[in-house]
Symmetry: C2
Subunit: 578 residues, 2 copies
């Protein structure tokens, strides 16, 4: 019978992966995130549709216990790897540097949804709870569930808008990071005691101690070791990527097993491992891309599709709960983050954009809800409501931000700036630092005595987070104290200079932008405008062929005209699409 189980396992795996990828791509084609298609897959193949339409077929494929256990092995690994990828996206240095500007938004962005969730939890009738006698813990869980953010969705939205590496973008990412850390920490602590039948204070204390202990040991002991290992390996040439890949996956499995053994969930350990690995300055972008691509395209679709296999969405859909959860989550999050961002020094328009950006819950919320449901903490109805809320908040996040930030008249900026700035037809630089130095030198006429300081500021900013955008474009930039107006230089490097871009390609077009201090809004506009001016390959090719500044200006001008004529550009899918 062994072969029959293997057959059923392969069939169910192929069905989930195949349909999830097809529906995912369809979703993408109409402008929805991949995950909408992936969740729909489970609804289609699970008891909701397939089980109703053809019970025999559904039972044959998905009801064999042995094959389903094999599938559970696959989705367990998938959950662990998903959280590693989520952890990899986290950049603690952003928190360090932008933590202060992000502090208010983080605090209010956690407190308000937490309060909203706790309020909702205490007001819901008994029949919405699995264990009505544990209402306090249940309310705390709801508070945590409403307060987390989806870093990957937010990163993708910022990328789409060309804001990812702007200061505004960094603030948003910093807030999301803090909120995410607090949320998962809280969830892990709650998971242990909620599994028991009665509230057990010493056990909660133990869980808190264990959780904190795990995090501390991870960062104080494990992280430097891991960093040194990765560093030693990444310099060994060809086999490096392969070894680092093994080490990251292994560390994730070990971290997951450790937290699981501690009574927390495996995903928490994997998440911490992901952060530690992502923090290692020695991890190559290419290794990151391999992990990301494989996890997001081979594991994640099956994980999200398998959600619907366990639940009848029609039976479990409770409009009242969906509306309640969505409204409280959105109002509390947008309000909390906007007010916080305003207090942190942004204008109202940008603050609102921060609020909507951070409102996206995406895959993180779904993973958390699924774990809570599997652990018997929440009923199917609430699981569905949380999934609906996660998808809806992610969907409105991008359009809302775009609406608040994007203005048509910005397009001309880059040309005007470049006309006053400098153009270097062929850079000699081999490294990012050399490119910055060379472009800064070309701006000597504009910068004067400020030159050395300005150059160092940009280099410092570059060390903090590299500015390779991908598609062979990099935009090193910084706010320079003492500068009165923005200064722009453009250089072409036909041989390519490594700016650690997400797609791993070296930059051949390098813009050096220096801004006056505290000009957040202007910076956002100019950076987005620069990014848009070289969106299409034709513009980049024309630039690279430009022998002088006049030709470069013509190339950018032609590109702007094309963009103005084209429908509102949606970039092809980025790395993070959940």
């Amino acid at each position: 019978m062994n072969e029959h189980h293997a057959l059923l396992f392969l069939v169910s795996l192929a069905a989930l992966l195949g349909v999830a990828r097809i529906l995912g791509e369809l979703a993408r084609m109409v402008g929805l995130p991949l995950i909408v298609g992936e969740i729909s897959t489970g609804i289609l193949l699970g008891p909701t549709v397939f089980g109703r339409v053809w019970k025999g077929g559904y039972t044959w494929v998905f009801a064999d216990a042995h094959a389903q256990t094999m599938l559970a092995g696959y989705t367990t690994v998938a959950a662990v790897l998903l959280l590693v990828v989520a952890g990899l996206e986290i950049d603690l240095s952003v928190v360090k540097r932008r933590g202060r500007s992000a502090a208010y938004a983080s605090i209010l962005g956690v407190l308000l949804p937490l309060g909203g969730g706790v309020l909702l939890g205490s007001l819901l009738p008994d029949f919405d709870l699995v264990h009505p006698e544990q209402r306090v813990l249940f309310s705390l869980f709801l508070g945590v569930a409403l307060s987390i953010s989806a870093l990957p969705v937010i990163a993708k939205t910022l990328l789409d808008l060309g804001l990812f590496k702007t200061d505004l973008g960094l603030v948003v990412m910093a807030v999301a990071t803090i909120v995410d850390l607090v949320g998962w920490l809280g969830f892990s602590v709650l998971l242990g005691p909620m599994r028991g039948d009665a509230v057990d204070v010493p056990r909660i204390g133990l869980t808190v101690a264990l959780t904190v202990g795990f995090v501390v040991v991870s960062f104080v002991v494990t992280r430097p070791v891991l960093d040194r290992i990765i560093g030693r390996i990444e310099h060994e040439g060809k086999a490096a990527a392969e070894r680092v890949l093994s080490i990251v996956i292994l560390a994730a499995l070990l971290g997951g097993a450790t937290t699981q053994a501690m009574g927390l969930h495996a995903v928490f350990g994997a998440f911490i491992v992901g952060i530690m690995v992502g923090e290692s300055p020695r991890l190559k972008e290419r290794t990151r891309v391999v992990i990301h691509q494989f996890v997001m395209n081979v594991f994640a679709p099956v994980f999200f599709a398998s959600l619907g296999l366990k639940i009848d969405f029609v039976r479990a859909f409770d409009l009242r709960l969906c509306v309640l959860v969505f409204s409280i989550a959105t109002v509390a999050k947008v309000l909390g983050c906007s007010v916080g961002a305003r207090l942190g020094g942004l204008r109202w328009r940008e603050s609102a954009a921060v609020g909507f950006g951070l409102n996206a819950r995406g895959a993180m919320e779904i993973i958390l809800a699924l774990i809570a449901h599997e652990a018997g903490l929440i009923r199917e109805q609430l699981l569905v409501a949380l999934v609906v809320m996660a998808l809806a908040t992610s969907l409105i996040s991008g359009p809302a931000m775009k609406r608040l930030l994007y203005r048509r008249e910005d397009e001309a900026d880059v040309i005007a700036l470049l006309r006053r700035g400098a153009f270097v037809p062929i850079l000699r630089a081999r490294t990012a630092a050399e490119a910055v130095t060379e472009l800064a030198a070309a701006l000597e006429g504009k910068l004067g005595a400020l030159l050395p300081f300005a150059r160092e500021t940009v280099l410092e900013r570059e060390r903090m987070a590299s500015t390779g955008l991908g598609d062979e474009v990099a935009i090193p930039h910084a706010a320079v104290d003492g500068l009165k107006e923005p200064v722009l230089a453009l250089g072409c490097a036909p041989h390519g200079v490594d700016f650690d871009a997400p797609d791993g390609r070296p930059a051949r077009i390098v813009f050096l932008l220096m801004m006056p201090p505290h000009a957040f809004e202007q910076e956002v506009r100019v950076l987005a405008s620069i990014a848009r001016s070289v969106f299409d390959q034709a513009a980049r090719d024309a630039l690279l062929a430009a022998p002088d500044a006049a030709a470069a200006l013509r190339a950018l001008g032609a590109s702007s005209a094309r963009i103005a004529l084209a429908p509102q550009g949606r970039r092809t899918a980025s790395l993070a699409d959940m």
Copy 2:
């Protein structure tokens, strides 16, 4: 209890992956293939050592039925993906072009081991067989098992020796491909009837028909469809790699499920899918690398380590069987291939090298033996003997080839050739074809009227199999009718030209080599010598900075001196290490 199973699953997975990677790297450090370490992991963690030393611990980690079923899900996927990767390595165009030179070696390289295996099968005493009444089928299986080759090991050996893209290398690869195809086809056909208790002729007929039908449908119907899909996607920019990844894995799962449903094994379908995908000229090298890295570093170690979990190697070790299987396999394969290669026109020395190269069985043999054991076809003793034979033949393959082909005095060739040839300090070419054209033009003085024909021959050869070696080096070359002595040109392309190298990096150093026809041995020497001359980064950097031919010659001379002083260079691990 669900969480306890998940914990045990994660622990066993982490243990297998972690120990397998560590022992694999240790094996690599002492010059053994990765797979030796991976197989040892199972021996260490399984009943052979861990189970003897600490039975309680072994039982806790590896005896939970639920967790082991989850692990089986993982290794099932691993087996499917391993065969996809094996299929990807196959290049049918090599068979088409070099089929004739490879024909004798292929035929004899299959027939002799097949005969040896059948002979062994008919002479073994009854107690070595699971079903003594099925001796004919058992003997046929042994014949097939002894006749297959391990394409990846062979490819790696050729790469290590700098012979991968020489004509000799192509002949060896063509033979290995043919032998592999015949072997897996035969095995699939045998697997069905051997599973039953009695020989069932109509059923064998049906299996043969199904197998042939599957292969025909795959290549006639599925392949063009798959190729078109991949082609459409690969030109869509950023998301292309991700989508192709999903499609390849999905196709492998579907192919595997199809053959499994037909009564063949899932790996056969995956293998055919791998070949079809690998044949698609539109599959990008980068996509291939992502699949390869993830499969070989996250799935394969666990698969090979899990082998030892099922078997007590001490109890199942039967010296008599090991010696018998190894000697018959080696003598039959080396003899068959060497004689065949000699008949195909090679010299004895090279023919013997072909024989030892093709003697490597590696991972393919182990997968086949494991499947046969799981299906109840062979006893543990024979499984162990086949594993030992697979490892031993792989181990002696590289050193034997090196010994037969490598000679110290070859080093000077490249400098002498270049002194008579041409040097282009900066190539203008943007494509591989342009680079070849430009370098050929630089050789006009040497080639005279032969120039256009010689150029077209090299371009034709380049289309057949690109010559990017990786490390930014490419060596386009061909045998040109009418040429009396080798001609070499060297060009530097600081901007990089895409030669479809295994590591995806564009070539910045391009050697154009034209050889007189039928000078196999000389070609091997010169190509290996060129490859060695730019092995180290320092030599490549010096070359790229060379303003004229004299400086280039100095750079290569310095490199040769360094190599002569250094211990026999072992390249860092290549993609295929099994």
